[in-house]
Amino acid sequence: MMNKLLKRLACLSLVLLVVGCAGTRANYDYAAFKQSRPRSILVLPPLNESPDVKATYSMLSQMTYPLAEAGYYVLPVTLVDETFKQNGLTTAGDIHAVPPAKLREIFGADAALYVTVSKYGTTYTVFDSVTTVSANAKLLDLKTGATLWTGSASASNNEGGNNSGGGLIGTLVAAAIKQIVNNVSDAGHSVAGTTSQRLLAAGRPNGILYGPHSPVYGTD
């Protein structure tokens, strides 16, 4: 009896495992993406809808990692920013308004990534403080101006909870410490790293496809 149950459990867990690994991809149309096959991506400084002025450059400096590890050449974000500045474009809004053809002429990139940070910051309650970073992205073909992919992601630093026990006083003390940490250590920046990873890493459901530098390029 026990054995039979174990057997069934083992089979079920195997099936679940396979399903879990395979992920789901069915509902996103990658036709334009696959036709365009971009090799290089120009990441523009993100638009910032949050009240924290740090959001744009905090996010910008975290987005090279997931895209490069996905297999794309990512144009050097600091140099790109300097080039915009030297041409009188000092805000993300100005930069996002530059025609794709002009971007292609200067940077020679195949695609450009337009990101908007919708949330960046810490909300305080009596018992807790939570830092959240949310963003959405659009990948544009710079030759045709066509949209190749869109996506959004969010992350916060209270995922998994922090119920350490210790009753009400313990909770209050923990909340106070966390608030200080969130304030002093620019917690938004490390959360932005998680958001970037969720937004732009390849191999995620409905995520960006692998690029030419990846050993699994063309398999997704």
């Binding site: 054995n3 174990l6 057997k7 083992a10 867990s13 195997l14 495992l17 879990g20 690994c21 090799r39 290089s40 450059y57 905090s58 910008l60 400096s61 975290q62 090279t64 990692y65 490069a68 590890e69 297999g71 794309y72 050449y73 990512v74 144009l75 050097p76 974000v77 600091t78 140099l79 920013d81 300097e82 080039t83 200067i106 940077f107 020679g108 990139a109 920046h189 790293g193 530098h213 990846s214």
Partner: protein, 118 residues
């Protein structure tokens, strides 16, 4: 199914699970590149950053790995900021060699530099 086979199956599942969770090897050795980029945007001193990035580059080379895209280009920008133009040109050339996709932009920057010089 014997107990042993159940055990084998369990072991197999465990191995599969481990396979799912193991982070795959990265394409590049990043060292402190992204934090340095953030520091640059916040206005940290260029000379100190060159020291850190050059040291990290030694570590990357020692392991025979690749620095990430933009690493040498960013170094070039830092050298330009402290007036070491020949070093800047060299870094941009290295970026081109490692990543041919960077050629149009690197050439754009080098052409602008030559115009300023000439």
């Amino acid at each position: 199914m014997s107990e042993r086979r159940v055990l084998t199956l369990a072991l197999f599942s465990a191995v599969l699970l481990a396979g799912c969770s193991t982070p795959p090897k990265t394409l590049y050795q990043w060292e402190g590149y992204q934090p340095q980029v953030y520091e640059y945007f916040k206005g940290q001193g260029n000379a100190e950053q060159i020291t850190v990035l050059e040291q990290d580059l030694q570590k990357i080379r020692a392991k025979g790995n690749m620095p990430p895209p933009g690493y040498h280009a960013h170094l070039g920008l830092l050298y330009a900021a402290i007036g070491k133009d020949d070093q800047m040109v060299q870094q941009f050339q290295t970026e081109k060699e490692l990543f041919p996709e960077s050629t149009p932009y690197m050439d754009f920057l080098l052409k602008k530099y030559k115009k300023r010089e000439g």
